[in-house]
Amino acid sequence: MAPQPPLLTMSGITKSFPGVRALDGVDLEVQAGEVHCLLGQNGAGKSTLIKVLAGAHQPDSGEITWRGEPVTLGSPIAAMRLGIATIYQELDLIEGLSVAENVFLGHEPTSAGFVVRGSAARTATARILQRLGHAEIDPARLVGDLSAAQQQIVSMARALSHDVRLIVMDEPSAALDPEEVDNLFRIVGDLTADGVAVIYISHRLEEIRRIGERVTVLKEGRSVAGGLPAESTPTQEVVALMTGRNVEYVFPERPEAGFAAGREPVLKVEGLTRRGEFAPVDLELRPGEIVGLAGLVGSGRSEILETVYGARKPDGGRVLVDGTPLRPGSVRAAVRAGIGLAPEERKAQALLMLESVSSNVSVSTLSRFARAGWLDRRTERAAAHQAVRELSLRPDNPDAAIRTLSGGNQQKAVLARWLLRGCKVLLLDEPTRGVDIGARAELYAVIRRLADDGLAVLLVSSEVPEVLGLADRVLVLREGSVVHTADARELDEHRVLDLVMEGSLTP
């Protein structure tokens, strides 16, 4: 390649917040037309770095050059003018506005300077969506009515509505199906072919191998390696750079096949159905068993879990715990019967972000620590402490604010909530979402240990290897129907994906 100035160089970037040094000397160099991957554990500084790049945070020191010229990114608008667009992990769309209005928010095509030309925006939006391979999204629809995957496309369309030279994507694949991910990669390929650079952040190493060209690794606010070849750097080396130690990405050992066959099922699901979401499902869960639901987003996996839990009202069928049917559509009935849920959106559906670890753990068990409504806070805190200790949650302090914990430890707090409650059936929806690689193995071990202690676990994950590695039995879902049930050891990722896409594998 002919030597030309890199599109972007950042050197010696530091940024402190009260009490935290988020960035402590980061160097990053991005060439035009490349896919540059940014790797690091949660808390390594990735988010802060991309906010600096987006003009949302001002660095305390360090230099940024753009096409050879030193620049300051004083505001999001300044960054956008240079051609830097950012697609955040937490989508920043306005649900009450249409697709086109969101795409052109802040730079609407106007007549006479202020009259918005809605039709022009819609036409332009349709063109961008076409380019993204999603012509089926109507530019006039409200964003709030779209699925998560479609919203992601809209976010991307918004980025492309500017004259971009660099797109930063923060975990764009987290909410996507394998099929959608393929489409995403195709788009990324098109963009780079046009000379646009992409900074790609993901926890999934296999994705980085597929599309990345070079990798920069962040650890504790510092860039510990820059410009590694994405394809050929051994996984061991990357993980070691990220964690500072050698971590083997392994699943805990399973008990022998059929170990639970003689046990009485604790959870029975009979013909449970919700119109438009999933066809009648039958399911049995025995103590000590981990059963996985594999399927694409929209295959009904999370919906089944939430209906079993009573958070959605079924149109038919029933759920039995220890042979007793539950009142349909009642979370309280499910909880009382001994079912617990670790929901998909941890922050939105499970955690009280302003509260301590202890309050978050005890929230489902308050009555046990109260006499006539009066809380015995000592016992409550001690019990919560005991529960989080059993799951080796860090820090070992029940008074710590939950929001200061990493994703993995927040998830442990949610598990501790149900451990404390003494539940018999644990429903896990995407238990490792937003949990970094180092902490995943530990979480897997915790889940297996809970099962070994007699809990029945129903697991949903969009990561097929996770389902196959952790579960004993796997139910494969396709468009709301169970298309295959098998021992996890008899399946491999390829077969599951085949089933998920086609639903026609001969047994």
Binding site: L341, A348, Q349, M353, E355, S359, R368, Q386, G422
Partner: protein
């Protein structure tokens, strides 16, 4: 929650208590004076100093201090109820109107025939009844609190006007009037102030020491998470508006004692005063964090300002501008301290 705890779980808390019991004792006992409460206390101290300097003879006179506290008591009781509602992520715009309705209903000729008990009972029941309607509409009718309580504001005021036909209903029951008289003061403290103190203490305990308080905070912090954790969010919401209505009923009774009459214009703009006091006290308008102490300090600050302005013969207009400035300043401080520990 009848889930029997397993033997292991029963044992677990005791052993953990032993290991951590010592260190937590001292930390958990005292009231937690956060920065905001301290700064409000400082503001209050400055105000007292200003009052003492600008009107040295009048402000610090026992009778004036008794007056300030009595005035703070009525709105203070309403604010305690409001603090619960706001902590749960709701709002109650109808408090002033409920106070008005309860005060006129409890002072009709028919009610007064039942004497002291009749008046007290009617005031409380009307308050709780209005709270019940609010609560049912919000919790089970899935109405937005702002709209449901706005509707209650309009109808309760209308009903109060209809009952009185715009006239002032003089209280003739001696025992009620006696409660406001100097003879009823306990060690120099007016009974109404004692009621306020009792409501404050009970409110503080309820919010900080009971499952009810914890659930209130959980619903306000994240209603969906609370629901998925097995909390009956709707019933909790119903109780909260009942509680607010109850506080309004008590406040209406206090107002009857104070004014010796019931009027349909009673409690005018109490909703705004109560919300403002709760907010400057440190309760988050978005829910999830509430402080009774802060609210009480907020009420005291506002009442003291009103008093100082009145003693110095300043116009109401100036007084209202000062109130507005204090609200802005308090929220700015609140934002800074939020950022500080984020």
């Amino acid at each position: 929650m009848t889930q029997p705890a397993t033997a292991a779980q029963k044992e677990a808390p005791t052993s953990a208590t032993k290991s951590t019991g010592g260190q937590e004792g001292s930390r958990r006992l005292g009231l937690r004076w956060d920065m905001r409460s301290l700064s409000l206390l400082a503001v209050l101290a400055v105000l007292v100093a200003v009052g003492g300097i600008t009107a040295p003879d009048e402000f610090l006179a026992t009778s004036n201090l008794q007056l300030v506290l009595t005035q703070a008591s009525v709105i203070g009781v309403v604010t305690v109820g409001m603090t619960f509602v706001i902590t749960s992520g709701g709002i109650d715009l109808s408090v002033g109107a409920i106070v008005a309705l309860a005060s006129v209903w409890a002072t009709t000729v028919a009610t007064q025939e039942f004497g002291f008990a009749g008046i007290l009972f009617t005031a409380v029941i009307v308050g709780v009844g209005c709270g019940l309607v609010n609560g049912l509409l919000i919790a089970y009718g899935r109405m937005v609190p702002f709209i449901a309580t706005l509707a209650m504001l309009a109808s309760a005021r209308g009903l109060a006007l209809q009952i009185t036909d715009g006239s002032t209903q003089i209280v003739t029951v001696g025992s009620v009037l006696d409660l406001g008289a100097r003879d009823a003061y306990v060690l120099g403290i007016p009974p109404l102030v004692l009621i306020f103190a009792a409501v404050t203490v009970i409110g503080w305990l309820l919010l900080n020491r009971t499952t009810f308080g914890r659930r209130t905070v959980a619903v306000g912090g994240n209603a969906e998470a609370a629901r998925l954790a097995g909390i009956d969010v709707r019933r909790q919401r119903l109780y909260l508006y009942l509680l607010s209505g109850l506080c309004c009923g008590i406040a209406a009774f206090m107002l009857i004692v104070l004014a010796g009459s019931g009027q349909n214009t009673n409690g005018n703009l109490y909703e705004l005063d109560a919300i403002a006091a709760a907010i400057i006290g440190g309760t988050l308008l978005s829910g999830g964090r509430g402080t009774i102490l802060g609210s009480v300090l907020g009420v005291l600050v506002f009442t003291t300002i009103t008093n100082i302005f009145a003693l110095n013969n300043l116009e109401t207009a100036v007084q209202q501008i000062a109130k507005g400035a204090i609200i802005v300043a308090a929220v700015l401080v609140q934002r800074r301290s939020m950022h500080g520990d984020a």
